[in-house]
């Protein structure tokens, strides 16, 4: 299970790029909602923080447990007109009230238990992930690289950075492993990303060439296309024309699955349902 000393590189995703035709015996779908999309890089700290963690565990395809932890972010930079607020619908006032012990509602009307201190919420999420990892779980989510980065970001806030890199592969992994027993690199190596899976299934259509932005093309019939892109056959099209969006929401709609509405718990469920549908398709279904 643990690959601290293994050769698996942190950016290697052996479960990506393949068409899955079976559902893992223990599948754990998870997701975070955040104050923004700036998760930072190795050199620059991001400004965004998790405000909720959601996780749903499936044993042999049957939902066994669900966990949802709201987290009060340390920064209050979340105006009501922000993109993040429009996405998940939780305002600073909501989070303040929730952290003070009140029960707030999510966008779908579900009553949520109070928000936790971000340190407590993070440790509960890591402990839950470690619990399933030690049972050999496969992790699942949509564009989970972002969520793994948010785990790192939140972890650094309370546990600091590693003093030194152990190896090029495991340097950033060490603090989380040490504090929680959750081996994030091993988890990445056992992660199925529904975005990558959809890509492998060619759900987004053939690859396109992206010329310099701002290119305007005039076709022979006189049609002008602004910001044109070229498809694999050399045809010019408008960006994203006839190409499904790569969001979880769009893919869910493609399969007739109710999207999670940017609620960490419901998005985890939606990603799992999407994956089950993709597996069905790969096995010769619709």
């Amino acid at each position: 299970m643990l690959t601290f000393n293994s050769k698996i590189a942190s950016n290697e995703r052996p479960m990506n790029g393949v068409l899955h035709t079976a559902v893992p015996k223990l599948l754990v779908a998870w997701d975070t909602e955040t104050t923004g999309t700036d998760s930072g890089t190795d050199k620059k700290e991001g400004s965004s923080e998790p405000i909720s963690y959601g996780l749903v565990a499936y044993r042999n395809g049957v939902e066994e447990a669900a966990h949802h932890f709201l987290s009060q972010p340390t920064s209050y930079d979340l105006p009501r007109d922000s993109g993040a607020y429009r996405v998940h619908g939780m305002s600073p006032e909501d989070l303040d009230d929730s952290y003070a012990g009140s029960l707030i509602r999510s966008k779908d009307g579900t009553v949520r238990t109070p928000a936790l201190h971000p340190h407590v919420a993070l440790d509960k999420m890591l402990a839950t992930l470690a619990h399933y990892q030690s049972q050999g779980a496969v992790f699942l989510g949509h564009n989970l690289d972002f969520d793994y980065r948010m785990l790192h970001r939140a972890h650094r806030m309370f546990y600091g950075r590693a003093r030194q890199r152990i190896s090029p592969q495991t340097g950033s992994n060490l603090p989380i492993l040490a504090s929680s027993g959750f081996d994030i690199d091993a988890a990445k190596a056992r992660t199925i990303d529904t975005y990558a899976h959809a890509k492998a299934m060619n759900e987004f259509g053939p690859p396109i060439k992206r010329p310099p932005s701002g290119l305007t093309v005039q076709l022979s019939d006189g049609t002008r296309i602004e910001n044109a892109v070229q498809d694999y056959q050399g045809n010019w099209t408008a960006p994203n024309e006839n190409r499904p969006s790569q969001s979880l929401e769009s893919l869910c709609k493609l399969y007739g699955i109710v999207p999670g509405g940017h609620d960490a718990l419901e998005d985890s469920r939606a990603a799992a349902q999407l994956f089950f549908a993709q597996v069905g398709k790969n096995r010769g279904g619709r």
Binding site: M1, L2, D97, V111, G136, L174
Partner: protein, 500 residues
């Protein structure tokens, strides 16, 4: 407010701040009223006695009212007006009044001044004496409204408050409801040519929008709690298998660590179908933590279902043993990884954290235990947000039992059902602290829980054996269960706890 004074309570409310950003939350012990009608109270955030303007207090908020967390020092009075909280202003988020600016085009007493401020200084000792301020003050006291003209518009203000923080400088403002425009307005009396007509109020002074909105919000949150209560059932259902006292005790004695052994887990596994001898074999002969055996047994049952295996209880047990033993290998790898990290000096920042002393550790565990004992034993109706639900007392008892995993000596207090001391309820967290090391001197619920969390993170780094690792994990999970249960143990379900 009077209730808090009479009953010697501590209040949480929001109050305008002098710094940008509007209101800040305050924890205040009110003692009475000043002759000016202000509330006299001890500010717990900076340890000072202050006067609080009643019309500026928004709330109660946070914990609302609660028993005093400390006894305030003797009130020796203010040394100056600087003790009065900073400049008053409307709530910045909910209230956006129009400030009426009117050019003075006529003198108040003499020829038109060229420098208004100097004119005021020359003619009035302070703005209390300004006729316009006096007119509004009288109107407020007499329940009247004031009508005046400004740039072709008529304003009729029912004064709500007069912010008289200006001395010698014409800065007094009047906040009130304008019946002409149907909204809250703030005016500077010095800017008004003439106060015009003063007459009885034509209508009741309406509640300002920010108060209305807050009140609506409070009602919404109350409704949420009511809806939540309707959706949960914490009634203990009889189980198919009720283990005997002897079975529990044999399982406890066989466990990897009897102090952190969880009776409820044992009972759940029995009700999954495992027999007592099978469990003893797993936890004693195979040294498998009972919680891992439970996970493995559930997996084995699930595999039977999915793959159509017609398994006997023993087949399931053997399968569960195999799965749980694989997990033991994973723990071994983790412990080895931690050991090589330490040996190779490949340490994380956590490595430098110093675990708490036994005394500090036990003191913190006792504080959390006492918090939930108080909530369990309280006979009255809890103030929001401490949720009152049927079966809720057992939920708090579950958290108490989690505390006994940290310090088994606390088990002696489990039976004290009539003891109640409100001072055992730990205060709520109002601030942020991302410091890494444990600090047992802090005393909010979250601070106490986080100190223990950091402690078990530090001790987890030092795990030298699978037993160390498992026992530490059990204790850290107990702290995590406690940490998320301050107001109510929302993660509790009846099968999570079994009484001793």
């Amino acid at each position: 407010m009077q209730h808090a004074i009479d009953n010697q309570l501590e209040m949480h409310f929001d109050y305008p701040s002098s710094s940008p950003g509007g209101e800040v939350s305050r924890r205040v012990i009110p003692s009475g009223f000043t002759p000016e009608g202000h509330v006299r109270g001890y500010d717990l955030s900076n340890g000072m006695w202050k006067n609080w303007k009643l019309n500026k207090i928004i709330g109660p908020s946070g914990n609302g009212m609660q028993p005093r967390s400390i006894e305030p020092p003797e009130d020796i009075g203010d040394s100056g007006s600087n003790l009065i909280p900073g400049p008053s202003r409307p709530n910045p988020t909910d209230f956006n009044p129009k400030k009426v600016k009117i050019n003075i085009d006529a003198p108040l007493k003499a020829a038109p001044p060229t420098d208004m401020e100097q004119f005021i200084k020359n003619n009035y000792a302070d703005d209390y004496e300004h006729p316009n301020v006096n007119a509004f003050r009288d109107a407020k006291e007499n329940g009247q409204q004031v009508t005046f003209e400004h740039e072709g518009e008529t304003h009729t203000i029912i004064p709500r408050s007069i912010n008289d923080f200006g001395r010698s400088v014409p800065h007094s403002t009047v906040q009130g409801y304008c019946t002409q425009h149907g909204k809250e307005e703030v005016i500077t009396p010095f800017d008004i040519k003439s106060v015009g007509v003063i007459e009885p109020q034509s209508q009741e002074l309406p509640t300002p929008s920010y108060i209305t909105q807050r009140s609506l919000r409070e009602q919404e949150l109350k409704n949420n709690a009511e809806d939540f209560k309707k959706g949960i059932d914490l009634t203990v259902q009889p189980a198919a298998v009720e283990p005997t006292h002897e079975e529990y005790e044999e399982a406890r004695a066989s466990d990897i660590d009897p102090d952190t052994f969880d009776k409820a887990t044992y009972k759940r596994v029995r009700n999954l179908g495992a027999t007592h001898p099978q469990i003893i074999e797993a936890i004693s002969a195979n040294k498998i933590p009972i919680e891992d055996y439970e996970d493995a047994y559930k997996t084995a049952l699930s595999n039977n279902d999915v793959f159509g295996i017609d398994a006997t209880s023993n087949d399931t047990h053997v399968s569960a043993l195999g799965l749980a033993n694989k997990r033991q290998s994973a723990y071994n790898e983790t412990v080895n990884s931690l050991r090589s990290m330490r040996a190779g000096g490949q340490e994380s920042p956590v490595s430098s954290w110093t675990p708490l002393s036994d005394d500090d550790h036990n003191y913190l565990a006792e504080q959390l235990f006492g918090h939930h004992m108080a909530l369990r034993n309280y006979k009255g109706k809890h103030e929001t947000p401490h949720l009152e639900v049927p079966g809720g007392r057992r939920a708090h008892e579950w958290v108490m039992s989690e505390c006994t995993k940290l310090d088994p000596s606390l088990k002696a207090g489990m039976g004290a059902r009539d003891f109640y001391d409100s001072s055992m309820i730990l205060p709520n967290d109002n601030g942020w602290s991302t410091g890494g090391s444990s600090n047992p001197t802090n005393n909010t619920y979250t601070d106490v829980a986080r100190s223990l969390l950091n402690h078990y993170t530090a001790t987890g780094m030092r795990a030298n054996s699978i037993k160390d690792f498992i026992v530490n994990r059990r204790k850290k999970n107990a702290v995590l269960n406690i940490a998320s249960s301050q107001f109510f143990p929302y993660e509790y379900t009846p099968e999570k706890y079994e009484e001793d």
